[in-house]
């Protein structure tokens, strides 16, 4: 109101006021974010400190439960002097390699089969029950069998990663292909698209958001597959570190391997999110974004 009635003198004042209000809001926002971050850090510190104190005062058994400082020492020692199985980088590299390879194979197979079954009704009807049975099975029990089939090397870990990754990706791709907007398909067909074109240029693009949801989860599954495989028997890898630490009653070693795994998983997750953002430029941003 005052903005309109104000003449040359009043206008700058009003402008200043809106500016300062905007600034105040920005400041409040920043303060809130800082508070959230600080509380977060505090929580972690409190947790680690409690653990450390309880272990040092021997309220909990330090041999069984270890303590943060020992875990840290273990990580430093592995980083600087290598693990009993070779350098730490090599172990991480092996695990990542197995997980990535299993993930790529599982995703490729899952997406391809999901789209095909989503488009070809006949195949979906024939294979449906088998897929359901395989999915109902806890697939991690296949890891020992893969160990027998493929030996202690990389292939057995890749295989267990593949079976874990395949199903969630497959189901999402299948669902995505099934739930394509019928209007879009009808429009494409009227515009002159052949069946192949409809699959490639309508079904697959609309299924990508479904598929991507599963990609996030499934990379975690690939890591689980690789680690469990290594834990059961391997020559290299983080899973082997866990197994070896456990075998020598080195609790800190088990925790240290866990921490390393968490970091690796978070980094790869970040990469995926980045790729997703690039790929989904056509999507309206979530409220609050952009």
């Amino acid at each position: 109101m005052s903005l309109e009635s104000a003449e040359s003198v009043g206008a700058p004042v009003a402008l200043n006021m809106t500016m300062s209000r905007k600034e105040a809001r920005a400041r409040a926002n920043r303060r809130r974010r800082l508070l959230v971050f600080a509380t977060r850090v505090l929580l972690l510190v409190a947790f680690l400190a409690t653990w450390e104190i309880l272990a040092r005062t021997e309220t909990i058994d330090p041999f069984n439960f270890s303590m943060p400082s020992k875990v840290w020492d273990q990580i430093v020692q592995w980083t600087l002097h290598g693990t009993p199985q070779g350098s730490l980088g090599e172990q991480i590299g092996y695990t990542l390699y197995e997980a990535l390879l299993g993930w790529i194979i599982g995703v490729t197979a899952g997406v391809a089969l999901g789209i095909v079954l989503g488009r070809v009704r006949f195949l979906a009807d024939v294979l449906g029950p088998y897929v359901k049975v395989l999915n109902a099975m806890p697939r991690i029990v296949l890891a020992p069998i893969f160990l027998i089939w493929f030996g202690l090397g990389v292939p057995s870990k890749v295989a267990s990663a593949v079976v874990l990754v395949f199903f969630p990706v497959f189901f999402n791709a299948f669902q995505g292909a099934r739930e394509v907007d019928r209007n879009l398909v009808a429009n494409a067909r009227i515009l002159g698209a052949s069946n192949r074109r409809v699959t490639l240029q309508v079904v697959i693009p609309s299924a990508t958001s479904w598929i991507f949801t599963s990609l996030h989860v499934s990379f975690g599954f690939a890591l689980i597959g690789a680690i469990v495989g290594e834990y059961l028997g391997a020559a290299k890898g983080i899973g082997l570190l866990v197994a070896a630490s456990q075998g020598t009653f080195n609790t800190a070693g088990v925790y240290a391997a866990m921490v390393i795994l968490a970091v690796v998983a978070l980094l790869t997750e970040g990469l995926l999110t980045f790729a997703e953002k690039r790929l989904f430029r056509w999507k309206p941003g979530a409220p609050g974004e952009r």
Binding site: I190, G192, S194, P205
Partner: protein, 285 residues
Amino acid sequence: MNSGDVRDNPPGGTPAIELRGASKAFRTPSGAWHTAVRDLDLTVGRGEFVAVVGPTGCGKSTTLTLVSGLEEPTEGEVLVGGEPVTGIRPEVGFVFQQDAVFPWRTVLSNVMAGPRFRGVSKAEARERARDWLARVGLAAFADRYPHQLSGGQRKRVALAQTFVNDPAILLMDEPFSALDVQTRALMSDELLELWGGSRAGGGTAASVVFVTHDLEEAIALADKVVVMTAGPATVKRVFPIDLPRPRQVESVRLEPRFIEIYREIWSSLGEEVRITRERGASRVA
């Protein structure tokens, strides 16, 4: 192609679209049969603009899917250019009620889709698409994605996407029903303009079947208004509209002749609307 021959030398004026005793029944999820369209007879002449009105949910849209070749009639015949419809025909364009532009493609790429699907080279498709984008006033938005446009702009993309294929048969399924009243009037005017100019390069204008539940829109646009019965739909009566062209949708509806026609058609349509309403009420009760 045969259809092309027919268009070049029309043998005694074969109608563009003809439905003879066409019926369409669907199987509902519960397993029962639902008849959407029953014993439908309808003729659309070349370059004629036909509006189809009827009560909500009576089966108007089904008529369009039969003509387009997306669905086949359970009984009767559907002819386009004198030939029975067996699949999707290249000379047919379809503007859908809901948004059917591809959200992952830019505006330009959306309009290019039709020509590209039909094997036109990329360069030519782009050129034609740019031309049509300019005609619908979206030249500046070529690189945007559909979600960045307003509802009216998205509808313009859909129109360009359809017109770029140069359709001889244009099917429109309540294309403007999702728009606000003002945008709607504007779009109607633009549609008449595009329709008049679409075949200016020679030949007649496209033959249009425009489905709507808005009688005003139907009268303002069409040469002929077809009133459907309450579902299962069949033709109740056909009213010729003798308003002169070119028309301005906003001003034509104030003319005395328009109001006269409106009253006449409403006396026929209103009855069907009432029947549908009563059915709905009894179903709720």
